[in-house]
Amino acid sequence: MAEQDIVASQIAELLRVQPSADIVVGLPSYNNAETIGGVVRAIRQGLAQRFSDRSAVIVAVDGGSTDGTVDRIADLQREGGTPLQPVRLLGREFVVPYHGIPRKGEALHIAMQMARQTGARLCLMLSPDLVAPSSALVEQLAVPVLMDGFDLALPLYLRHKFDGAITSCIVRPLVRALYGRRVQQPMGSEYALSSALVERCLGQNVWGSDLARFGSDIWTTTQAMGGGFKICHVQLGLKSQARPAAPIDLATTLEQVLGALFEDMIQNAHVWQRVRGSLPITLVGLPGEGAAPAVSFDFRKLVESFRLGLRNLQDVWSLVLAPATLLELHRASGLPPERFTLPDRLWCRVLFDFSLGYRLRPINRSHLLAAFLPLYLGWLGAFVREMQDATDSEAERCVEELCRVYESEKPYLMSRWRSPDRFNP
């Protein structure tokens, strides 16, 4: 029997046990035996405290754990509280290194299908690697969708100024420039979706593709933005996350994030080309207290990595970057590390050129994305150098300015997207 048929039969079995529900909680897992118990208990507690009058089901989708997570889920299934239905994805060979929970896209698909077929008004996706999560998490994410009419509630965590640089310099400004919504953390691993958004997502032909596999979090957000759904950020304070069971390197992480973003750009080109400017989104809740754990980088090493890339990867970069952009990178490389800087406009054009390169495939896409790492390290080096003595709010203002530059440079992207040969060397 094919994997799809097995999953379909598993969903049919789940529906036999639980034919209807108001809330479906999707919980993907992969080697999370240590933390999944705490997360399930927090979910059950949160549902009992705030939504005791509504029926709910937790769908725990395991991607092929080998550390006893499946046994742990079976134990949790026997415990009292909100029913927990386990689903096991077959085919361990499908597990590939991933910066989130492996096979999360498949888990999201199953949770959405369950939500549609049970007639749920809310589909809540939570991460199984949260350490000692609060039971209030369910309420914080669910209330905006169930009570306030939002379609997507995204988490907004307190983070150190250097934490999540890929989000700060690539994902956040690009998504904002493309879709015109000022979302600060578009790649939340915990989020709540309305039934309308679930319906839209299920209607898209991406399930089974790399975009769904590696970029389900970004894709869900861009679907909501592109479809004009109501989005809010829920301020959740600090996030405590367990170390990943299968850590991966930065190059692979960057490749997956960029690949998902660029693929989304190609698929939604007809949507984002019509968008101008940006609108703020609603912030729900109060900013949490406490200081995020510090993240430190040596900017000299980062700048050196950029220079190494410039010395060796020019022939690859020249296939995608406009000649003027390449020239400016050369100029920046000549600066000493203590004065090294990459202007926002230059950085923005580098990313836009790479997105176009991804679309036109002048070289293998995997190679193209791998060639981006030294550039990213260069941006990070410049940012760390400039912001080393700044406060978190000053760093935030700097990222906000970068977002504005992305918006102002969008005509450049559109021009190149529509006439790719015009700037070709």
């Binding site: 991966i248 990595s305 190494l308 070289i363």
Partner: protein, 233 residues
């Protein structure tokens, strides 16, 4: 005397013209076959291009991992490459058929040998082409990986990988073509063995201190944090 010269010249002319007249039908047949083959090639090219574009051949080649083919193709399009190869093959075939029609003994013998040699030549060229693609692809992959790992001699490593693969491809192609016989195999074995030995010696003797320093540095440095990548997302 003039009469003799005139007779001789006219006899020669008659012979040449007679030969030409005898060859004329064959030459016309050659031209005709060439024209038909060119027309056929053009039509096949047209149909093939439409069919390949219909099945999104360029995109499929990229998905199947043959993006390096695009780089070597005219206009970066494997569809164009396939169309050109097929159409020129048809024209070449037409030329060969036309030459047979000329019925020149030398040409026939040459064609016979050429036809016998053709499969080996094709396989040899294919090996060379595939080897070249593989070498370029692997070299770029190694270069990117090495740069991302912060290795300063990334370019040298990448060039070594490329040329080792190219040498293997050339040796295989020459072996397939039957050129050089055992000399190619022996030379290749000597070259390859020599390169490996030279690298081993260079690393063992020349770079002993550098390797030692790098090893010590690695031992003294704290291990990288495993979840560093997560901090970037």
């Amino acid at each position: 005397m003039w009469q003799n010269i005139e007779d001789t010249v006219s006899a020669s002319l008659e012979r040449v013209l007679g030969s030409l007249a005898g060859l004329l039908p064959s030459l016309i047949a050659l031209l005709l076959v060439l024209l038909v083959s060119m027309l056929l090639a053009w039509m096949i090219r047209l149909v093939l291009r439409r069919a390949l574009r219909g099945i999104k051949f360029d995109t499929r080649m990229e998905h199947w991992g043959f993006s390096a083919v695009a780089e070597l193709s005219p206009g970066k399009s494997p569809t164009r490459l396939v169309c050109r190869i097929v159409s020129w093959s048809v024209v070449l075939l037409g030329l060969l058929v036309g030459l047979v029609a000329v019925r020149v003994r030398f040409t026939s013998q040459l064609l016979l040998h050429l036809f016998e040699y053709m499969p080996r030549l094709m396989v040899g060229l294919l090996v060379l082409f595939a080897g070249s693609l593989l070498a370029r692809f692997a070299a770029r992959g190694v270069l990117l990986r090495a740069v991302n790992m912060g290795i300063h001699s990334a370019r040298i490593i990448s060039e070594i990988v490329k040329w080792l693969l190219m040498v293997v491809a050339y040796a295989m192609a020459l072996d397939q073509l039957g050129i050089g016989g055992d000399i190619v195999k022996i030379a290749f074995a000597l070259f390859f063995g020599g390169v490996v030995l030279a690298l081993a010696l260079a690393l063992g003797l020349g770079s002993r201190d550098a390797v030692s320093r790098a090893w010590e540095k690695q031992q003294n440095e704290p291990p990288p944090k495993e979840d560093d990548a997560l901090r970037h997302v």
